[in-house]
């Protein structure tokens, strides 16, 4: 089988990129910049690492894509329901958080929705400070579809039963977040 192999180089300083395990996010050991793997090349991305709310030996960082998109709803029809006070519909420029770790949707779906609705207010730290991090295996491009699904999921979670919806969803950009989680056995819970 014909397979072509190309060494990846940091787009900023040109040093070869190294890693120990499969991860779509690569950290340049030479200049310290963070690179994201896109199809066959890399592009620079600036990660936001959130400070954990406690010290624990079982902390782990999970990668999330923060997808910025412009949501424009042109027609909507909802049956029943009360005033939308508790949950506000998402309109205009919105930020969606999509977990990039290799976990099943039934695990990540709740966090994605939770962070998208209210992102934790936590200080950013410059590095991981010896806390391990999970590799990102979902690319920012595929996360765009997850973001659109998040918008729809949020729409049907709103008060009332959604019947009709016409909208446009345009992606504006993306950023990388590392959010600390507490690992207890197989369970992961946010530590922010």
């Amino acid at each position: 089988m014909a397979m072509m192999v190309k060494s990846l180089k940091c787009s900023s300083c040109g040093a070869p990129l190294k890693a120990k395990e499969a991860d779509l996010v690569l950290f340049c050991t030479s200049c310290g910049k963070t690179m994201e793997f896109l199809d066959s090349d890399v592009g620079e991305v600036s990660p936001h690492i959130l400070a954990p709310n406690r010290e624990d030996k079982d902390l782990i960082y999970l990668p999330f894509w923060g997808i910025d998109a412009d949501v424009d709803v042109t027609h909507e029809d909802t049956v029943g329901g009360f005033l939308r006070i508790t949950k506000k519909p998402m309109r205009g420029t919105c930020r969606f958080y999509v977990c990039a770790a290799d976990l099943l949707p039934r695990k990540t779906a709740g966090w994605n929705l939770e962070f998208t609705r209210s992102f934790p207010k936590a200080a950013e730290v410059p590095d991981f400070r010896r806390i391990p991090h999970m590799p990102a295996l979902k690319s920012s491009r595929t996360a765009e579809k997850d973001a659109e699904f998040l918008f729809l999921k949020h729409e049907i979670d709103l008060s009332g039963t959604l019947q009709e919806l016409e909208y446009t969803f345009s992606v504006l950009g993306h950023e990388l977040y590392y959010i600390p989680f507490l690992r207890r056995g197989d369970d992961l819970s946010p530590a922010v």
């Binding site: 397979m3 072509m4 066959s40 699904f149 019947q163």
Partner: protein, 335 residues
């Protein structure tokens, strides 16, 4: 580096020359020796090719085939008289996609309550799960393999020429599109279940991996009364997936007799009960008629076509195996 990209059979690291293990479906690999990050472009079609390891030995395949020979309703002397003329391994290509299917469906259902009022129930639902999709990538002719195996066992990178394979005859793009459609359909089916009238729906398929897998089989040809029959075994589990075998004349005659006898008895009793019983449940006798007709038709079928017994999706003979029955191309992955 020259202008021609480095082309490699197997994979070796351009940095240190070490052998790299391919991560399934990945376009990104890491050298375990020097840690270099490497972009991988699979051949022009962009397909990762992998193969499952053959687990069943030739001896194992032969004994599995002999066990199959002895199973009802094949000719009773088959196990004793069949002469195996050929046993050879064959790898069949399958397309496979692993991806997340997401769906949102909105709509309503109506039903009439006992007062005659029409009630409308409004629905809004979603589904979100990871699926495995696979279909066969070649025609198998009279080997009759159409449903993908369980795709279990150990995966290895596929190298050309190492194993006997059947040529892939369906195109990658068509398979990819089919996978996308099938996964979205499944996501939609789950989100929209119970909704009578749809007013809004949207589906997503987020592929994680798309590959061409070669799955091992043993093809065994054998002769019985100078006729050539065959059986195909799963190379990982050793169980028969398709095959042809001679039937047994005694079983055929028995089927005719038992089908006619029991069928007639049930039908006769059923009719008589319906017509002459005073019970208020007299009509229940009609179920006896139905059972009787089913029995006689089953007996006739085995009697008429029982001279050949088939396994898998083959025409011509009778088949008792439920293998592949109701198997779907899309399955949810549980991890």
């Amino acid at each position: 580096m020259s202008s021609v990209p480095d082309l490699l059979i197997g994979l070796s690291c351009p940095g240190c020359g070490g052998t790299i293990e391919v991560t399934e479906g990945s376009r990104l690999a890491f050298c375990p020796y020097c840690g270099s990050a490497l972009a991988i472009t699979a051949d022009d079609a962009g397909v990762t090719r992998l193969m499952y390891k053959m687990e069943v030995t030739e001896t194992g395949a032969e004994s599995a085939a002999r066990k199959w020979f002895g199973a009802f309703p094949k000719a009773r002397d088959l196990a004793a008289t069949a002469v195996i003329t050929e046993i050879f391994p064959m790898y069949l290509p399958f397309w496979r996609m692993v991806g997340t299917g997401k769906g949102v469906a909105c709509g309503y259902s109506t039903h009439t309550d006992k007062d005659g009022h029409t009630q409308t129930t409004y629905h809004e639902d979603s589904s979100d799960a990871e699926y495995l999709w696979s279909v066969i990538a070649c025609q198998t002719g009279d080997l009759g393999i159409v449903t993908p195996p369980k795709l279990q066992g150990r995966l290895l990178p596929y190298t050309d020429g190492d194993i006997p394979v059947f040529e892939t005859t369906s195109s990658r793009d068509e398979a990819y599109d089919q996978a996308d459609t099938d996964i979205r359909m499944e996501a939609h089916r789950r989100a929209a279940s119970g909704i009578e009238t749809l007013t809004f729906s949207k589906t997503f398929c987020i592929p994680r991996e798309f590959s061409l897998l070669y799955y091992p089989y043993w093809i065994i040809r054998y002769q019985y009364r100078e006729r050539d029959y065959f059986v195909v075994l799963d190379g990982v589990s050793g169980s028969p997936v398709s095959g042809r075998a001679p039937g047994d004349q005694t079983y055929q005659a028995l089927a005719a007799g038992l089908g006619a006898g029991f069928g007639g008895l049930f039908a006769g009793l059923g009719i008589a009960y319906t017509m002459f019983s005073n019970s208020e449940y007299a009509l229940a006798g009609l179920s006896g008629l139905v059972i009787g007709l089913i029995l006689v038709l089953a007996g006739y079928w085995m009697f008429r076509f029982g001279s050949e017994v088939t396994e898998g999706k083959l025409t011509g003979g009778i088949s008792f195996s439920m293998k592949g029955f109701g198997q779907k191309t899309v399955r949810e992955i549980e991890r």
